[in-house]
Every structure is written in structure tokens, then in C-alpha cells.
Amino acid sequence: MADGSVTITLDGVDIEVEAGQRLIDALCDAGTDIPRFCYDRRMDPVGLCRMCLVEVEFPRGMALVPSCTSVVRDGMVVDTRSNVVTKAEEGVIEFLLINHPLDCPTCDKGGECPLQDQAFAYGPGESRYVEAKRRWEKPIPISDLILLDRERCILCALCTRFSDEVSGDPLIEFKGRGNHLQVITFPDEPYASYFSGNTVQLCPVGALTAKPYRFKARPWDLEAAESVSFVDSVQPRTSVQASAGNVVRIYGVDVGASNQGWLSDKDRFIYEHIASPERVTTPLVRDEAGFREATWDEAIRLVADRLAEYKGSEVAGLGGARSTNEDAYAFGKFLRTVVVTAHLDAQLDDGLAADFAAAVTPRATFGDIDEAATILLWGADLKEEFPVLYLRVRRAVTGLGAKLVVIHPRRTGLDDVATHKLGYRVGSGAETLAWLKSGRKKHFKGPRAALSEGPVVALVGRTGLAEDPRLAEAVAAFARDTAGAKILPLVRRGNVFGALDMGLAPDLLPGRVAVTSKEGRAALESSWGPLPIGAGKGATEILQGLSDGSIRSLLLNGADPVRDHPSPRLASDALEAAEFVVAFDMFLSDSVVHADVVLPVAGLGEVEGTATNLEGRVQKVNPIVAAPGFARPLWSILDDLAFALGADIGGGSAEIISKEIAQVAPAYADVSWFRLLPGTEGIVVPGSEGTQPLQYIPADAGLAVSNAALTLHAGRVLYDDGVMVRHSPGLAGLAPEARVYLHPADAEALTVGEGDSVVVGVDGEATLTVGIDPSLAKGTIYVPFNQRGSAALGTIGTVTITPLDSGGS
């Protein structure tokens, strides 16, 4: 990045602009609107639409140049208003319109169309073209989500460049040339990208449209609220848009920091679940016949009465990663001060140790990724689990020159750009780490060398649910110690970092305070009153406690342990054994069906509050529609419950809670809604005012290497069989069916082949179809976590595979 500033003469006036800037950006920053179609700040300029032409002085006189591909230089003389420029603008608009259909009234883009707007502002008014227009068949589906109308396309190449340059899946491309140029996919190879929706948003005309949105609304009827997506902990910034009280569209918002405006299709199309007919919108209580609807009064009364029967330590709370910070805080405060239990956990032992995840230091931000010389990724397949972060890392490598070292049990979405890729057998991570440390083994030399060149950012997490969470910490310790790496702990679930920061873990209090900290406890007790004494239990212990009767009641806050805990068997046993289960949820998930009372909560687009992403960035969540039926925000339900139990947790509104958080949670001292208005970048806590009492230094616990014959890799894929995807029709069909993937040698040893059926046993059993995956290490099998057909499988325990004799090949 160039530093300093230079002076240019813009339409006769000298102005200072940032050196090294693209001319088009400099002009716009200076308040001169430059029309454009093919330019987007986030991609390399190509200068092909020719809409942004300006006149620039050269030794031989003024010449037209595209301002998008020009870079400012000192003394540059620029004319944006000359007759030549105006005529060129009119000319380009006329050229773009000669083959553009006049179907604006039925076009999804009508009313928010850059072509329409710029034709109005810069066009000649009337076309002189009397010939036949280009005709293409229209519109054609190019994927399950996207339709293409080539007659409307103005060939700006934003979509093709996005798919190639940004997301790395060039499945949509130019075809033909000259007047026959078109954008298209390959026959039978749809634009099946996790990021396809971005092209719809990029498209400056109505050529690319999204099936879920098609004909749902007209732009002038839309209301929008800036918010964040809860699909994963990247929490990309969104604009949630509604028409007639229904959310109809989600767009990415480019405020730089969190997502540069990009979304995954899951972020973009997941909203369909909120209007699902299967959504719980009324309190439900169980009687002999099953669930029946109840009034809030009845349900609250019932829950309060039952909870009053138990000692605090006989009650536990699970979940919180789907809540706003305010809801999570209220949940924790309710559990710790009203129920008086120390057993609470936002994670389901599917993530990392809470203190490590929440308080690791030094912690990286996404900005650090852009600046990194080397990025170490030993955690998730980012494309599957953190898709928007995947884009960030990809761009850092392809566009910003970072080196990337990927260590993963099988191929990942970043392998094609990785500088070094190492595979390994799940269970032997400690050995792989030792080799990486020494760098003496052949394949480890390069990666080891790359890691000694700073700045290094280490993205560490569990490669799958079968991986020991302590491995990530050991990797972080190594990266920190050798290269001073900044660490980004990869825990995926929506607002899990917010929940941990709000103290939804047995070992954490709100604001990154260890539960064992005397001062921390004292400070919190001065506001909350006495805290429960004794060690709290985490998710697995809670489930075990339910099974053995030491815990009798469970509050489930949007959590689905039957699907998401490493041992579904343990989870369902626990829920069966529980005496009284209260679920705060939107759907009757596989766990919620075990509840005695279901309390309907408000969801996406309905709640207000804040959220914290994996960098620790706090952003605002804003509502745009009313929650359906009797669904309510969690904090207000907890307020009522506390009241019914004779307590006051000081709710009243999310904003009031947020102010309390700022007072009692040291890391959140800086956070106020006023500073989180739309368009602002959010606040990375602890920020300048806040403090982080717990500074967690990762350590290597010294893991053993498993000598099991077969080990399991239980990585996640983007479209899983989770309850949100299941209830979003646009996405539901995209979730693949579960399979078991075997290394060719393992398959041979088992005498099975692609397409055969086998019974896989890991803490449960499932009959699965075999896929062959040479990218796996020998001895590791891969069963994507939480897919249709594999729900009964756990991830911890002995792995067995039994071929079914029928139809072997």
C-alpha cells in the first residue's frame, strides 16, 4: 500500500488524494460521481464496459482513459465534464441499450437497476437503433438457485470475475466473442457454488436473478435493516429486506471489516426458515397426547413451578450460540442468579475450550489476515464451515501475496491456492505437529520455513468433531511461540463467541473473566448478587448428569445436542432421562421433541441486539419484521420467568441489557449501540476502553497418538441437515446425503467400492453408501457430520465398517 497523498486537478480544482488509489475511487471520494458498470473495488479492474471514461492530460494532450484502471499520480489533470467525456458516456449508454430488452416493468431489477439509473443520468434519451435486437432463450436456470437472462446481460463480467477471482469456482464464463458474446455455464455443469448469490447482487441489470426472490417484491416496496448473519461465527454484515411484513431478501453489506459485502448462499437464502409453516409460534406444553398449545401465562407459570422444585445444581442450561449477546447474557444471568446453577454451556463439546476460544492472546482480526506474510490453517475446511472467511483467505493468497499452509485430513477448498498442503491421519495430529515443529521431514521443510516469516496468522480449530480439541491449542501454542503468530480460534456456530463472552460456559463469567478469578467474581457479585459456588459442568458432563440423575432439569436455548453433540446417543439418553426439559426454540428439532415445554423465540430479522464474531468484533443486529404468532425475544421470556420465580434480572429491553453488559463485562466496556450504527465497522472488543482480564496463553497438553486401525474424520459441510437449512426450501435440496468416504487402499482392504453399502459404527450405527476419496490419509474414514442418514453416528469411539454383502462390485 502506498503511503502519503498526491495532488490532482479535478475539473480545474486541485485536490489531495490518497497516493496509489484508483482514479475512479479518488474521484468518487472527492464527491464526483463516476458512472461505471464493470468496476468493483473488491476485484481487479478490467476496464471493459468503458462507462467510467474521463479525460486525462498526457504530454500529447487530453486522452480518454477508463478511470477504473488508472491510478492517481501527482500533478494528474482530470476532466470529467468535457464534451468529449459527456459524449462518450452517452455513446456507451446507447450502445448498452441497443440490445437491451425493454422489459423493465417485469424485471426484478426494475427500480434498483444501475443501467436504468445511469441511462437516465448519462444517456442520450432516445435510441437510433432500428435493427433487430440480439435474442437469447430466457431466462434459463444455471443452478438450483440462480436464473440467467442473457438478453438483459451487459457483459460487464462481474459475475465471471467474482466466480474466478474471488470464490475460485469458475463455472460461469464468457462464451463466444464479439456480438455473440454471452455469459453461460457448461452444459450439465451448473453454477453450483456456495457463493452464487453474490453474483445476483453484483449484477448491474436483471440478468442474474435468485429463484427464492423472483417476483417476490418490487424494490420500492422493500424495507431494509442492516444486521449480521448468524449462519456462522464470521457474522457477515447483511441487509435484511422485507416486503409486506415478510423477509424476502438478504444482501451483503460492504463495510469492509467483516465480510467486504460477500455472503455465502447459506447466509443469503437461509431466511426462508423464518416463514416456515413448521415454525413454533405458540408456547407448547406436553401432556399425555403430546404437545398442546398454551398461553404464555400458563407456560411461564408451569416452568416457574417446576423449576422451583429443584435445587439450583440440579438444573443446567445448554445453548446460546443462536442468541444475541443480550439474550445470551440474560440466559446466563437467569441461570446463575435465579436458578442458581453453575452448569451452563453454549458449546456442545463441538468446539474448543471456552477460555482458549474466548480469550486467546494475541488474537487475530480479519485485517491481520490481509496483512499476513503466512497464514497457517489447521482447523476447518473454511469453504465448508466459514465460507466468507474462506473468501478472505483465498484473496489474501491470490491477491495479496500471502503464503498459505493448510493442514487437514483431506482435501479442502483452499488446496488449489495453498502454498503447502499437508494431509494426516486423524488421531496422529500430535505427530504431525512434531514434524512441523522440527521441519526436518521432507514435506515439512517448506511449511516450517514459511512459518518463520512473519507476520503469521494461525487459524486453528478442530478439523472435525472427531478431533481432540486440545490439538488446536497445541498448534496455536507452537505458532505463537515460533512466529509470534496471532491466533484466530475457529469455532463455527453463529454467535458462539458472543455467548462465551457473555459467560455461557462453566469456566467463564461475562466479559472474558475466569470463573476462578476472585476479583472477577467479586466485581460481578456486586452487581448480580451471589454467584453459585462450586465448579460448573460443561455440555458432556451435563448430559451425563442428566443420565445419572445428578442433574434433573435442562433448559435448552436453541441447542440441538441430539444432532450436534459428538455423541448423539449420550444426548438422546440424557434427554430421555431428564425430568423436566424447557426448550427456547423456533422449531421442534430432534432435541426439542423431548421437551416438556417449548417456548417460541423470535429469530432472524425479528430480534434486536448485538453479536460478536470470531475476531471479537461486536456488531448490531436489527429487526425488520415482527415475530410471528406469540414468538418473543428470549430476554423478555426470561424476564417473565424470573418474575414468576420472584426475581428481577433487570431486563426491560435489549438496549437496557446491553448497557448492563457494558458495565459488568470488562471486555465490553466500550460497546454502546450508539457506536454501532449502520455503516460503522463494529467494535473489536475489548477495544480501547475495555479490558480483558483473562489473557489466555495457549499451551501444548502433550497429546498421544491414536493407534486405532481406523479413525474417523467428521468434518462439516456447508449444507447440513440442521434445522434452519431443513426449513429453507431453497437450500434444503442442496444438502448432500450422508456417505462414508474411504481411502482407495482401505476400500480395497474391505473389498468395497464406490456406491457399495456398508454399516459404519462409531458410538452408534448407520448404513451408508461408500465414496472413494484418495485425498484422505490411509486409515482415516470420512463421514460428513450431521447429514441426512448419518444422524445416529457419533464421532468418538471405536470405528468399525462392515460391508453389506448385497450388490458389492
Binding site: P170, E173, K175, G176, I184, F186, E189
Partner: protein, 205 residues
């Protein structure tokens, strides 16, 4: 490697890829080899080239569709390309094309029903000094008057030459040349593709 390709073409593909510092550069040569395998650039051919070069099929299609010599539809045994650019037009190229269409019973841009001919007009063939010119399977003939053009079509239909050679046809049907060609070449085209040994498209006469 593409196991369905002939051993020769597999070898060629390997050699062609090895010629370049980056694999992607081999896309164009490989599209010729794939055309030879499949008769033209079929979808299968594009998938194969994609596999060999590490591109997506959509990327290969994007490249293939940019260049007019990669045919994406079936093409006759003899691809007759009549130059109708300015210099040939000035010297009667339109009449030559009409004669060729008439004699072959095949319209410009089409393939004859029996698959013998594909007739097309092309832009400047780089033989303006010998205008009007045409080529058969990219073997050039210069100074072709309409009657000679008709005779050429009849000859192709009757003699069904397996190897097409510019030198042979020039003697039989050609006239004024842009320049002397010197000695006769020992090689010719075996397909409607430029005859070039490294692509396997040329054969000794």
C-alpha cells in the same frame, strides 16, 4: 491422461503440456488433439481438456468458443473455407463462394447431408496476392476461379482423397499465387484441422 485417447494422442498431450511453463497454455494445442479424437470439439472433448489442464469445463468452453477454428458442431470430411475478405472480394470471392455452394449443394455455414463437405466463408486467409482463394482442411489454394472451384468440389467428391495437400490441389485447381511456393511438401491434412505433426493432424502423402 485421458484413457480413451489413442496411445499416440496421449503421448502428444503429454509432450504438448511439457512445452509450456504453465499447463494452461496447452489448452489450444490440446483442443486440436481433442478435435482429432472426437471429430470436433464435443462436450466430452472440452471436459477432457479441462482435466488435462486443471481448468473447469466452463473455462475450456470459454476459450474454445473464442476461436473460429475449433468447431463445436460436426464438420464434414472436407472443410471448404472460402475467403471473402476485402482483397478476395475485390477479385470475385462472392462468385467463387456461390459456385462452391452450388456445386456442393451445401450452403455457406452448413454441412452437406452426407457429411462430405462443410462450406464456410472465412475472413482474410493471408493470401490476398492470389485472390480469390480458398482452403480445404486448411490447405490453401490460390487463384481459384469459380469453374476451378466447381472442379475441386467434384474432385473431392469423386476422388475422396484421404490426405489433403495444398500443393497437389494448387496444381490441379489453382492459378495466380501470392508468391512462389517452391518445392512440394511431403505432408498433408488428414482432418478438417490444420495439418501439423505435433498435433497428429498431418500425414505423409
Amino acid at each position: 491422461m485421458i484413457p480413451t485417447w489413442s496411445a499416440d494422442n496421449q503421448e502428444r498431450a503429454t509432450a504438448l503440456i511439457a512445452q509450456y511453463p504453465e499447463k494452461r497454455s496447452a489448452v489450444m494445442p490440446l483442443l486440436y488433439v481433442a478435435s482429432l479424437e472426437h471429430g470436433y470439439v464435443t462436450e466430452e472433448a472440452m471436459r477432457e481438456v479441462a482435466e488435462l489442464t486443471g481448468l473447469t469445463a466452463a473455462q475450456v468452453q470459454s476459450v474454445a468458443s473464442f476461436y473460429t477454428m475449433y468447431r463445436r458442431d460436426p464438420v464434414g470430411n472436407y472443410l471448404v473455407s472460402v475467403c471473402t475478405s476485402i482483397s478476395c472480394w475485390l477479385r470475385g470471392a462472392d462468385d467463387l463462394l456461390a459456385a462452391i455452394e452450388d456445386e456442393s449443394g451445401t450452403l455457406d455455414g452448413e454441412m452437406s447431408e452426407d457429411g462430405t463437405f462443410t462450406i464456410e466463408h472465412v475472413e482474410c486467409s493471408g493470401a490476398c496476392g492470389g485472390a480469390p482463394v480458398l482452403s480445404v482442411n486448411w490447405e490453401l489454394i490460390e487463384g481459384v476461379e469459380p469453374d476451378k472451384g466447381r472442379a475441386l468440389i467434384r474432385w473431392l467428391r469423386d476422388a475422396e482423397p484421404e490426405t489433403i495437400s495444398a500443393d497437389e490441389m494448387q496444381v490441379l485447381f489453382g492459378g495466380r499465387r501470392s508468391f512462389e511456393w517452391a518445392v512440394a511438401e511431403p505432408e498433408g491434412a488428414i482432418a478438417p484441422l490444420p495439418a501439423f505433426a505435433p498435433y497428429g493432424t498431418a500425414r505423409e502423402l
